[in-house]
């Protein structure tokens, strides 16, 4: 059985979804972080279209975004091939809008993706990286490769609240401000643009947008924004799906869902009501292609990963709150059968090894996972779960295949050599000279 799911269960689930009334699909990173992540998203879209479950309340395709502003960061032109509003950099008309406003020429060729930047750094052709509010060393796959890429650069700039793991490889640290200390907007999973309001002054002296502004000006720009509302006005002026958005509107409405423009002045709670944005919905053939990450005699188990309620992602914030009482360390969930044949008992230290690397953590025996599958969270840097994950990725977008790694589990004496070396290196790297020197 390829999927491990009995055919009768698949049939029953399919019948229920197709005949049960309004059908809605909610999904998370267990869909996207696979070598066929994009294919899976299209298979979900196919399922919604073939059952007529789009364009009204109670139905739809709902990606549950992991972070407060994933939707917004994508909308704002963060990707190397897209300007704000998902418009390709090779599109002359779009480039012209920004070129005219900014007074520069924009490269018509897409730039490098994160994995390509790191590859180029290892090769010696990519030398400087400005990282705002992300800890790529901890959150990106194949930690050793990330470390090698960062270590090869001449100027790594980290802007963050804390000396995160990436900062161990940085030359410049620019202190960041929390959401309590600045004005702005976040766009949530339902495309809702919500105001973030300054509750207190930035403890570091500057809101994050001011830091970027001053760095740009130090490099020769001449930006004069004095409030994030003016940046939103520029976004609205250049990006059709945001054309109607302003801080005044947000004060009046509380929040608004894009598209918000002349066609939808109060925003768009539900999309594709009268027709799909692209015209007609498009079915895509979704052939199953197994990942190259295979189990075998050396690595017979499949590792998958996830989050726990009290902790958040790499834990930079929640580890620094009293939430640690609920989750002081990451543990490895393993089925009692798989544990027994390995001599592993509850709370034993185990070595978790993949083709990419190994780490150690404690075992938690549970039948939440099926035999053959193990599971862990990735909230604590000491666990280094991404030492284990491989460099396989989604065929269309390079999204890493975090959710499938062939592993072996065995008893261990405690933290691995990598974990110990890393801890030493981190302590060394975090030294701050006293102000007097």
């Amino acid at each position: 059985m390829l999927t491990g799911v009995p055919a009768s269960d698949l049939r029953a689930a399919a019948r229920l979804f197709a005949t049960g009334g309004n059908g809605a699909i909610y999904y998370g990173l267990g869909v996207t972080e696979h070598s066929q992540g994009s294919t899976t998203v299209m298979a979900i879209a196919n399922l919604a279209m073939m059952t007529g479950n789009l364009g009204r309340p109670g139905v739809g395709v709902n990606p549950l975004r992991g972070q407060n502003n994933v939707q917004g960061a994508c909308d704002m032109g963060s990707f190397p091939h897209e300007l704000p509003g998902y418009r390709h950099v090779s599109d002359d008309a779009t480039r012209a809008v920004f070129e005219q406003l900014w007074g520069v020429t924009i490269d018509a060729e897409p730039g490098l993706r994160i994995p390509n930047m790191l590859d180029a750094a290892v090769e010696g052709t990519f030398k400087g990286l400005y990282i705002q509010g992300e800890d790529i060393l901890q959150s990106d796959p194949d930690t050793k490769h990330v470390a090698a890429g960062l270590a090869a650069m001449d100027c790594v700039i980290v802007q963050d609240l804390f000396l995160n793991e990436t900062a161990n490889y940085a030359h410049v640290f620019l202190p960041g401000s929390t959401f309590l200390e600045k004005d702005g907007t976040f766009t949530n999973a339902e495309r809702r643009i919500n105001r973030v309001r300054r509750v207190m002054a930035p403890r570091n002296g500057l809101a994050d947008w001011e830091v970027t502004l001053k760095l740009a000006n130090a490099m020769g720009a001449n930006w004069a924004y004095t409030h994030p509302a003016q940046i939103m006005d520029e976004i609205a002026a250049t990006t059709p799906s945001f054309a109607g958005v302003s801080y005044e509107l947000l004060e009046e409405k509380g929040s608004v869902q894009w598209p918000c423009n002349a066609a939808a002045p109060e925003g768009t709670p539900i999309m594709h009501v009268d027709g799909f944005v692209r015209g007609r919905g498009r079915f895509i053939t979704t052939e199953y292609v197994a990942t190259e990450e295979r189990t075998g005699p050396r690595f017979p188990l499949l590792l998958t990963t996830g989050r726990i309620l009290s902790q958040y992602n790499v834990g930079a914030q929640t580890r620094r709150t009293e939430n640690v009482v609920w989750h002081p360390e990451d543990v490895l969930e393993i089925h009692p059968h798989d544990a027994e044949v390995r001599g592993v008992k509850q709370d034993d230290w185990v070595r978790l090894a993949s083709r990419a690397g190994e780490t150690s953590l404690r075992a938690h025996l549970t039948d939440r996972v099926s035999p053959g599958v193990v599971y862990t969270t990735f909230h604590h840097p000491v666990t280094q779960a991404n030492v284990i994950t491989t460099d396989h990725s989604d065929w269309a977008t390079n999204c890493p295949e975090y959710k499938v790694t062939a592993v072996q589990v065995g008893l261990s004496n405690g933290p691995s050599e990598w974990q110990r070396d890393y801890a030493d290196h981190a302590a060394q790297s975090r030294r701050i000279l006293p102000a007097a020197e």
């Binding site: 689930a13 002296g205 799909f276």
Partner: protein, 504 residues
């Protein structure tokens, strides 16, 4: 430009939830005509007319309960004194909220509540923010005639230990439970059930001895099923369930509406402060994503903002082997600008780039990509969404034409069958999970496709119709087989496909 600090407008507690009916009904309350949707309670209709009927067990995010007997009214042509929270309006109804009869009843009821409540108001953490205190004032309670013999809060007058006394539970890091102050209104129990959907709390004992309990006897809040969402604390009308931050810092004096910075649900909060001291985060009931609910992270886990690990000064170093050196902002910017320009002079324009963050605001993200494209002069910008939802962008753009979810969160209230695949909402998106669970308790069916038996598969009053525990890496095979069954068994919506999709 002015920083907006919104007063908490429309923040009044209407007592019971709004009715969804579109049929309107007109009644007369204390001489005022008021028109409200059918199904509205007399209490809420009164609030619409600007008349606040005294109440303790009612609050507008919970179904009416009718236990405190404080909200009784008189209605012409009806016998007795019905509770206004559980009495629906009717056309032509004539209601009196302040007759001498109901005023006398309320005073008597309050007298009983207060006879078993400590009178340490001045030093109580809820002083100034206590509904019991407000109601004692509203009904004009002036005297308590009962002797303090068998209370839950003090030793007996003869010096014997008081078997009714239950000590304070401060096991949870963020809030305390003080049974001495409990009036057994059940708002916390109902919030845990109706709003959060965890069913961790119950009332144990009966009559005078009843008290709130987290789980079985011997459990405290930490060992119970409690997930620390704080809905009970928010619902509590007294200091029985109280944030430790309020106990320490006092009652907040101002509030600012803002948005949580954790997950993609995007809950709206009132940040409540004294000066620039954050006292507590209270989910904003008019927030359209969360409708007044929150999880443990958004409500309580903001302490990182003032953690001593925070770096507050810019730092630079020549080589990563060197220790950091604190510098002025100006020096940090000029050091950085010089290094980046030197790299470009030596290795070409394409040798630098930047990464934007899904943790930062739209405006900050826009500026970073603008700096890279306009100042660095290349397109070497990427974002952490690369490692999470980039396939969503590709997949939904290809099939639908735009890279975004199709619904609002309110949509879940209208769904009949839900597939949750590759997500663990009770951990990852807890406030959405609570809204989903509410709909499931109303009868919607659930299909979970996940290698792991997540909590949604089976939890209090929730059981998935199907859990498909697939092998990691076989999502496409499972989804395609679902589609195969739907097509081969003739269950596809051909009409929708022919009119709305490519048919060929």
């Amino acid at each position: 430009m002015k920083d907006f600090i919104l007063p908490p407008k429309n923040d009044r507690d209407m007592g019971t939830p709004a009715s969804r009916s579109t049929t309107m009904v007109t009644l007369r309350i204390d001489g005022f005509d008021v028109t409200v949707p059918e199904g509205t309670s007399v209490m809420r209709a009164s609030a619409e007319a600007g008349i606040q009927v005294p109440k303790l067990c009612a609050t507008d995010n919970l179904e009416a309960f009718g236990s405190c007997r404080l909200c009784v009214v008189e209605i012409d042509g009806r016998r007795g004194t019905p509770a206004s929270c559980t009495t629906p309006v009717a056309d032509g109804m004539v209601v009196h909220t302040q007759s001498s009869k109901v005023r006398k009843i309320r005073k008597g009821v309050m007298e009983l509540y207060i006879s078993d409540h400590p009178l340490d108001c001045l030093t109580c953490s809820a002083n100034g923010d206590c509904e019991l205190q407000d109601m004692a004032g509203a009904v004009g309670l002036r005297d308590v005639r009962y002797e303090a013999v068998d209370t839950h809060f003090q030793s007996r007058q003869n010096g014997e230990a008081n078997p009714n006394y239950i000590p304070k539970d401060d096991s949870n890091p963020y809030f305390t439970y003080d049974p001495a102050k409990c009036i057994v209104c059940s708002r916390c129990v109902r919030a845990c059930e109706e709003v959060q959907g965890t069913f961790a709390l119950t009332i144990t004992g009966s009559g005078f001895d009843s008290r709130v309990s987290a789980g079985a006897a011997g459990d405290d809040f930490m060992t119970s099923d409690c997930v620390s969402c704080g809905a009970c604390v928010q619902a509590c009308p007294t200091a029985t369930l109280q944030e430790k931050s309020v106990i320490e810092l006092g009652t907040p004096e101002r509030s600012v509406i803002t948005t949580c910075a954790y997950c993609g649900v995007g809950c709206s909060f009132k940040a409540e402060l004294n000066g620039d001291q954050l006292v507590r985060m209270v989910p904003y009931k008019h927030g359209k994503a969360n409708r007044g609910h929150s999880c443990v992270k958004g409500r309580f886990a903001y302490g990182y903002a003032s953690h001593t690990d925070r770096i507050l000064n810019p730092m630079i170093r020549d080589r990563i082997e060197d220790p950091w050196r604190e510098v002025s902002w100006d020096e940090a910017f000029s050091f950085t600008a010089t290094r980046l320009r030197d790299i470009q002079a030596k290795h070409g324009k394409q040798a630098i780039g930047g990464i934007t963050s899904s943790r930062c605001t739209n405006e900050e993200t826009y500026l970073v990509q603008k700096m890279i494209r306009a100042v660095f002069g290349n397109n070497n910008t990427d974002t952490c969404a690369r490692v999470c939802h980039s396939p969503t962008g590709y997949g939904l753009r290809t099939t639908f034409g735009t890279s975004a979810g199709t619904q609002d969160f309110d949509s879940v209230e209208h769904t009949d069958v839900v597939i949750v695949i590759g997500a663990n909402p009770t951990d990852g998106h807890p406030v959405f999970a609570s809204r989903l669970k509410k709909r499931l308790r109303q009868g919607a069916k659930l299909i979970v496709i996940d290698p792991r038996r997540i909590d949604l598969v089976k939890s209090a009053h929730i059981k998935a119709a199907h859990h498909l525990p697939l092998r990691p890496g076989t999502n496409v095979a499972v989804l395609t087989s679902l589609a195969h069954v739907i097509v081969t068994e003739g269950l596809a919506d051909e009409d929708f496909i022919r009119t709305r999709c490519d048919w060929s």
